[in-house]
């Protein structure tokens, strides 16, 4: 009888790492959003039918299902309300670069009808971050701003211009002001 070696994990598992590269131009509406972000302004789309304001503009209103364009662009304030948040304690999974706990908050900007997610809240201890808290953007210095994170697939948002949000010290917003916008 030949000497049969028992199967080891290495005999059963093979690594097949796949890298796919995508490159494209931003859509015209995201191009204008990116230019404004680099300039320190936030530009959204206001639906001419229902009046809802989207940031960034999608190029259409998903509720009314009509196209929106340059004529529908409006400025949105760089301050707003923390609607919901999570304190993330990072574990060392693949791709995680953070090592210290950080805030992952949704912020409803004044003049917008949807939140921007994943925002850091700085300047206050984590145990004082709360829903209803009024915050304002901490803009990156102009020379450090970038549009690299913006994609046609709907994520990216404001992170190339705004590093975090900080408390304004104003009184909290009432729950009614953001109850439709938890995330």
């Amino acid at each position: 009888m030949p000497d049969i070696k028992p199967l080891a994990k290495e005999d059963l598992v093979m690594e097949h790492l796949v890298s796919l590269t995508y490159s494209e131009h931003l859509t015209p509406n995201l191009n204008r959003f990116a230019d404004a972000l680099l300039d320190g302004r936030l530009v959204g789309h206001k639906c001419p039918s229902c009046g809802r304001v989207y940031l960034p503009g999608k190029g259409y209103c998903p509720i009314c299902v009509i196209p929106t364009g340059e004529a529908d662009e409006v400025e949105v304030q760089d301050r707003g309300i923390v609607t919901g948040f999570t304190i993330v304690t990072p574990v060392a999974y693949y791709g995680q670069t953070a090592t210290e706990p950080f805030v992952f908050a949704s912020v409803l900007l004044d003049g917008a009808d949807g939140t921007i997610g994943g925002q850091d809240i700085v300047g206050v201890p984590h145990d004082q971050v709360h829903s209803g808290m009024r915050v304002r953007a901490v803009w990156l210095p102009k020379e450090e701003r970038t549009a690299d994170d913006i994609t046609n697939r709907g994520w990216g948002g404001v992170s190339g211009g705004i590093s975090a949000f900080e408390a304004t010290g104003e009184p909290d917003a009432s729950f009614d002001d953001f109850k439709e916008h938890i995330f």
């Binding site: 093979m14 097949h16 796949v18 890298s19 796919l20 590269t21 995508y22 490159s23 494209e24 131009h25 859509t27 015209p28 999608k58 190029g59 259409y60 998903p62 509720i63 299902v65 009509i66 196209p67 994609t151 046609n152 697939r153 709907g154 994520w155």
Partner: protein, 352 residues
């Protein structure tokens, strides 16, 4: 017996472009709106919605969810998605209509190939042990298929060139096509190979595009349009995933799907085939038993415009448009999925 009183009552497609400046959803918004307008159907009266697209192609997990915004998903709607060409979404909607509790459906297919490298993306649909790690791309696979076809004696390189010349000439009349012209066979045969025995013109263009179809059944279809395009038969069949396990010079799944769809070899006014490489048109003609005189791909077919995930639904639209315009009464359309004609769908359409 499946119901045979389900009809196409509206459709629309974008022109095929090498790189659309609009996002995939932005392509879909006016296209779906145009199909609904053509069908005289308010959005609120759609009974079921089904979409076909590919997240690998778009380059984002759950990209198909965003596409749904173009259909209007608020208030909530009844919908589904296939990670396949829109033609297969049409099949699901047709099956859903068989239940008889709803009488309309919206179907759409969309894809932007321009942001990705198709050779990278489509290698991922191969098995992960033997073929995907080789990076076997669609053009190389099609080259192997073309070589096998030549070696079998079933076709010549001149036949490939004739398919291309016919496609370019037919596309002259198609405003949605990407590649048009009047090349001679000799000019085409003088071109260099990109994957021997395939020349660049034997390959489809890289395309961005979207399309939409509205279905209705019975009297509702007759209310919505003067000339419904009835779906008389519809079937799809699949073969072995490993290309080495089948005869790639034939398409037995197409033959079977056509038979199950009720195509009896009788006269047919127009046929639209998803032959993305020129040799595949010869394989499909043979699988369907079409005589040389059959009017195949009057739109120019997939060689003239290849918006992947929409291209099969476009074949159905091109066939249906000729019936609704009254220039044809009986048509066959074909769509495909997987590598080198692995899975094939056949739909048989008829006027009133």
């Amino acid at each position: 017996m499946p119901a045979t009183d389900i009809a196409i009552v509206g459709f629309a497609q974008t022109p095929s472009e090498r790189e659309a400046s609009a996002s995939e959803v932005q392509l879909l918004v006016p296209t779906i709106a145009a199909a609904l307008t053509a069908a005289n159907l308010p959005r609120s009266e759609i009974g079921f919605t089904c979409a076909g697209s590919c997240d690998y192609l778009t380059g984002g997990p759950f990209a198909f969810v965003q596409n749904l915004e173009a259909a209007g998903a608020w208030p909530p709607i009844s919908e589904s998605h296939v990670e396949m060409d829109g033609a297969f979404a049409l099949y699901e909607a047709w099956v859903r209509l068989q239940h008889g509790d709803i009488d309309t459906a919206l179907v759409f297919g969309s894809g932007k190939s321009s942001p990705s490298n198709p050779a990278e993306v489509w290698a991922q649909q191969l098995d992960p042990y033997y073929l995907a790690p080789l990076g076997l791309d669609p053009v190389s696979l099609a080259g192997l298929q073309a070589r096998a076809l030549l070696d079998s004696g079933k076709a010549t390189e001149r036949d490939f060139a004739e398919v291309v010349a016919n496609s370019r000439r037919a596309a002259l009349d198609n405003p949605n096509a990407q590649l048009r012209g009047t090349p001679s066979i000799e000019e085409l045969l003088a071109e260099p190979y990109v994957r021997n025995p395939l020349r660049r013109h034997d390959l489809p263009p890289i395309s961005d595009g979207a399309s939409a179809v509205v279905l209705a059944r019975g009297d509702r279809a007759r209310e919505l349009t003067e000339r419904p395009v009835w779906i008389r038969g519809f079937d799809h069949r699949i073969e072995a995933h490993q290309p080495g396990h089948r005869d790639i010079t034939e398409s037995t799944s197409t033959t079977l799907a056509a038979r199950k769809a009720g195509y009896d070899g009788g006269p047919i006014d127009v046929v639209e085939l998803s032959a993305t490489f020129s040799p595949q048109e010869l394989i499909l003609r043979n699988a369907l038993g079409l005589p040389k005189s059959t009017n195949v791909n009057p739109s120019g077919g997939a060689l003239a415009a290849n918006p992947i995930m929409s291209v099969g639904l476009v074949r159905i639209i091109e066939a249906a448009s000729r019936i609704s315009a009254g220039t044809a009464n009986r048509a066959l359309a074909h769509a495909t999925g997987g590598q080198i004609l692995q899975q094939n769908l056949v739909i048989l359409l008829e006027g009133e």
